[in-house]
Amino acid sequence: MALNYTKKTLNHFLKPKNIGEIKNADAYAEIGNMVCGDQLNFSIKVEKGKIKDVKFLSFGCASNIATASIMTEKVKGMTLEEARNYDWNKIVSDLGGLPQQKVHCSIMAVQGLKKVINNYQDKGQEKKKPKKNKK
């Protein structure tokens, strides 16, 4: 069945923004896994209660990459509270829509963001990195 990704989704897939991992990030989080076929790893840098920088790594399909890309672009500069409540519907509309079977990607992206913010707040200033995946 044709997915008919929008041009915007394809652009974010082909040239994703904010990819990578922040060195000495204030928090890290991993969501999803390889068995399900979608995984996102987030890292954030926080300054004065705001997201100064956010980056992600992805093992996932085109929409997994595109949703994380556009979301990270939008939440940069937001307060932690704003970012934590970021609505996945916003991602879908920013991309100009997602095929029904791919909407879950946007949900996963906001869940990952929530998780990395929670990790930051739970641990205070303590910087802890999760175990890396084995090859």
Binding site: L14, E30, M34, V35, D38, N41, N64, Q101, N133
Partner: protein
């Protein structure tokens, strides 16, 4: 550059096939069941075409039941044979890597009180013969095992399996949809009771399937009505479709050895080049007992659909090993059946070549694939 490497999904129709279908749609359009001279002419030409099909497959003309798809043919055989012979027993065996159009009817049968056993495969996709021996019981009515798998290309030893099944007293069906022209289909020599084909997999039209049946075995029709096809499949004869099917099959088996050798050499070169250029790539399926046009690969650290979309954006059409990109988000059950590390079940892609695939297309694809994998791996959390 546009490169089509998804020939296991469907193939380009041959010009000669299109021509004959045009003739039998526009010029010789009479109903083959009509007894006037126009109907008679169509009927007689249809018989000639069916004879050509029967000869290639080594069966007789009355055992050919044309349908509107291989899905319909498989439904007819699986449900039709099981239902018509339930006094013999209510047990059916199918391999775990059958196409959904075999698994679907098997599931329906289980709702009707049949017991359905799923025959497992080994890591290379070959069915476990010893397990089959254990599963075969006196109440087993039908066993269905595909000749070659659509995703991983693994070929089964149909002749050996058919012998074993027939010895037990059960009937045997093989879905040979992917086999043309890569296997020398010989219904009599293989000893199969039922066999399924689909024209669009060998440069014929979409919408024309074939159920080859053993007339000595009872079978219940799915579609009743005007009693065409000995009452086994009613509906006005699809003259253009059958003529197209016959022409496509004839072309497929003409100079077959030469054609498949070319495809195989190209496929082997393709794999070699990929391995030369990309690290951590593994072949899924069997190294030698596989369709000559099939290349199913696991590329560690990248997700199959992302590779597909990236290549698609560069003009290359492939398919994922998983059904993820198609309709649902479930991982491919065929890949899962190979019991590979669950961490790798979403990193598979399938290339399927055809007689018109060229070396320059392969070279282009290798070059693009190398970049795609490099790009996706650069931000993959899996190192």
């Amino acid at each position: 550059m546009q490169v089509y490497l998804d020939n296991a999904a469907t193939t380009k129709m041959d010009k000669k096939v299109a021509d004959i279908m045009y003739t039998y749609s526009v010029d010789k359009y009479a109903n083959a069941s009509s007894i006037h001279y126009q109907g008679e002419e169509v009927y007689n030409n249809l018989v000639k075409a069916k004879k050509s099909v029967a000869k290639i497959l080594n069966t007789d003309i009355d055992s050919l039941i044309f349908t509107a798809s291989a899905s319909e043919a498989n439904n007819l055989i699986i449900k039709g044979v099981a239902r018509a012979n339930k006094d013999k027993g209510k047990h059916v065996i199918v391999s775990s890597i059958e196409h959904p159009c075999v698994l679907g009817p098997a599931k329906e049968l289980s709702k009707e009180g049949f017991r359905v056993s799923y025959l497992p495969v080994d890591k290379q996709g070959r069915v476990k013969i010893e397990e089959l021996k254990k599963l075969l019981k006196t109440e087993t009515v039908l066993v269905s095992i595909m000749a070659a798998n659509n995703e991983i290309g693994t070929i089964q030893d149909i002749k050996k399996i058919a012998k074993l099944v027939k010895k037990s007293g059960a009937y045997f069906h093989t879905d040979a949809v992917q086999a043309v022209p890569y296997l020398n289909i010989d219904i009599a020599d293989w000893g199969v009771d039922f066999l399924t084909l689909s024209a669009h997999k060998f440069h014929g039209p979409k919408g024309v399937g074939l159920a080859c049946i053993n007339k000595a075995i009872k079978i219940e029709p799915l579609i009743t009505g005007g009693s065409q096809n000995q009452g086994l499949r009613s509906g006005t004869t699809d003259t253009a479709g059958i003529m197209g099917f016959a022409k496509a099959l004839e072309i497929a088996y003409k100079n077959r050895d030469k054609k498949i050798e070319k495809i195989k050499n190209l496929r082997d070169y393709f794999l070699l080049e990929i391995k030369k250029n990309i690290k951590n790539v593994y072949l899924n399926g069997h190294p030698s007992k596989r369709l000559d046009n099939n290349l199913n690969l696991r590329i560690n650290g990248v997700e199959g659909e992302a590779v597909l979309m990236d290549l698609s954006n560069q003009g290359i059409c492939i398919s994922t090993g998983s059904a993820c990109s198609a309709k649902n988000l479930k991982t491919s059950y065929v890949i899962q059946a190979l019991s590979i590390d669950p961490n790798y079940i979403n990193s598979n892609i399938r290339f399927s070549l055809s007689k018109s695939t060229t070396k320059s297309e392969i070279d282009y694809t290798v070059k693009k694939l190398k970049n795609t994998v490099k790009r996706l791996r650069s931000f993959s959390p899996i190192k």
